[in-house]
Symmetry: C2
Subunit: 370 residues, 2 copies
């Protein structure tokens, strides 16, 4: 999937999504050693990079398997030869399930789901294809997205999974996406989450369900996962690159941001403003997750610049308070708010060391929506 190119960053055309490989490798190593230190299975979510070669690196660093959101991503990620694949999304509909069962013939597949409907469909498909599929019962721990409530609803779901043929009940999964940062409020939320998980596991055990896997966490809470009692698996995604949201949440610093988008100044017609050749089709229109500020990235070369507006192909950057004269043709790097959606807009990403472009990776699972 990779081809080395003899090229310099200065020769790349723009917009181009750059990955600082030294930073990426430090990010990968940091989570590998965190997982190992705290006896946490690491099952990285590949939605962030969508690149089998990078998934392979995660596996080589000790990840037990991979996580994906879509069956189409699972199909692509077989190229990374994962020992197991978790689809962290309810797989609904016969056509998707048939495709997933083909994946299940290549590697061990687990699905997290939250309804009897999804469990029954999965069981039927697994039976038809003569495979066994692992299942995690998805629990809602406060985000209000997918997941049954802890308590009777969870016990009912666990029983159904247990009872249905061709399914193997592996445990529970959760995503505390309501925790947006590590500030005081975030710390209180983590403490409450720890209590809730403790009670949930006690409930399950009282009912005779011993979960082999308790899988959960989020980007802001990644390095707090060991504080959650009973949790033995994390599914981090963003950590490989990090982004502006991760910094704003308090979970990493700017020097841990491995991804930036190289853009060119194409107009300086309006004083105090530069227009760059990337907008919502290059960065996505995701706003910062925390706060009410409307801005779309951090300009590495001018930290006070405000990337406050975008159209599809135009980025509006206010440089009124910046001590630097930008001219048409100048190039700047911008760290996106949300790297997962940004990567998904690019045909390929460039792995760099200093000014050298040493890797070009096609974003193989880009747009695999189904």
């Amino acid at each position: 999937m990779t081809r080395p190119v003899a090229s310099r960053v200065r020769d790349l055309d723009t917009p181009a999504l750059l990955i600082d490989l030294d930073r990426m490798e430090r990010n990968l190593a940091k989570v590998a050693s965190y997982g190992s230190e705290h006896h946490l299975r690491v099952r990285p979510h590949t939605k962030t990079h969508k690149i089998p070669a990078l998934a392979r690196r995660q596996l080589e660093l000790g990840s037990v398997g991979l996580t994906v959101a879509k069956v189409g991503e699972a199909e692509v990620m077989l190229d990374a030869r994962p020992p197991e694949l978790l689809v962290a999304f309810p797989v609904i509909g016969r056509s998707k399930l048939d495709r997933l069962m083909h994946v299940a013939r290549e590697t061990a597949v687990t699905v997290s789901l939250d309804s009897l409907f999804a469990a029954e469909q999965l069981s039927a498909a697994a039976g038809d294809h003569q495979v066994e599929v692992g299942v995690l019962a998805e629990v809602d721990v406060g985000l209000g997205r997918v997941g049954v409530a802890p308590g009777p609803a969870l016990l009912q779901l666990a029983e159904a999974i247990h009872r249905l043929p061709h399914l193997r009940w592996d445990g529970v999964a959760f995503y505390p996406g309501q925790i947006k940062s590590l500030d005081d409020e975030g710390q209180r939320q983590i403490a409450r989450l720890a209590e809730l998980i403790g009670e949930m596991l006690a409930d399950l055990r009282r009912a005779g369900f011993e979960p082999r896997i308790v899988s959960g966490g989020s980007t802001p809470t990644l390095f707090e996962s060991h504080r959650l009692p009973g949790v033995n698996e994390i599914r981090p995604g963003t950590y490989i690159f990090n982004d502006r949201n991760t910094v704003l949440s308090g979970a990493c610093n700017w020097h841990e941001c491995a991804a930036s988008i190289l853009v060119t100044v194409v107009s300086t017609a309006k004083p105090g403003q530069i227009i760059v050749d990337g907008g919502s089709k290059t960065f996505s229109s995701d706003r910062p997750v925390t706060g009410s500020e409307v801005s779309f990235g951090r300009v590495v070369e001018a930290e006070n610049a405000v990337f406050g507006k975008m159209n599809e192909e135009h980025g509006f950057v206010d440089v009124g308070t910046v001590n630097h004269d930008f001219g048409v043709g100048d190039r700047v790097r911008i760290i996106p708010n949300h790297v997962c959606v940004a990567v998904n807009l690019h045909e390929c990403v460039y792995g760099i060391r200093g000014d050298d472009v040493v890797e070009v990776w096609p974003v193989a699972a880009r747009g695999k929506l189904q």
Copy 2:
């Protein structure tokens, strides 16, 4: 680029971007006849569909050429055999210019630009490749994006384009993107714009510059273009499909929305809410252009449903006030806020008539960022 499929909408997997072909054809015909009635050249912006087969249809309906934002889009759109191509974006950097000159050997190329820097680079590249390139001087009429101010700056740019070898000064281009709707304020803005354009053209003529092309307009103002004196070209993009923003602006009605995204309900775990299998990687996170409301589309089957939140692959739809019970596995169609960025997220779109899928078009210019 197209292959007929023997399939029904009910058999399509989700998420899937559907194009109602009857509506699309009415939209195409409406603009063709508007252009013809008012003697306006129609040079459709292909950024909306990014599909050469649809560009070809636009040409067959009388469009004089095509518009693109990126050189990569121009390369793809050669497949539509356009008699002329406008790159409505300053092309900066030698590598892009070299690629554009290759395009210029296949068809007549025009670029809109706003700086001496861009004009000089373009002139040099055209000379090296022995081609002539048309140029439109981009004027800022109030958006504050690209474009020189009308008055001395415009005259200076027109003179430079006139003077530089291998460039042919064709006229002026503008984009009144500050006009967001056709309400009273929008009507006042259109009246002011008409005045401004009249003065700008008088200035140019006094200085001896007779523009052959005066190219401008926007989605909300599309059918008001004939009110702008001297304007003889429009570059409409969104009109082929329309979207929720277009309806909210007052420029079309719901029955003119040809594009919708078919999604499946994957969770109903939280009462009063459904989770569908599409989020920001399926719809984009573009909010409505007008108003402060945060919502991401209109649910065709339940107009009161509020698509108020999304993650990458999850759409949160509040159905608390909807008189309909949704179950896991149900499918709904959602009209996106902004169809141009939504199409760019899909590998293909499905052309439908009723329940029949009659076309599958790959989005060939998807992700052509450079």
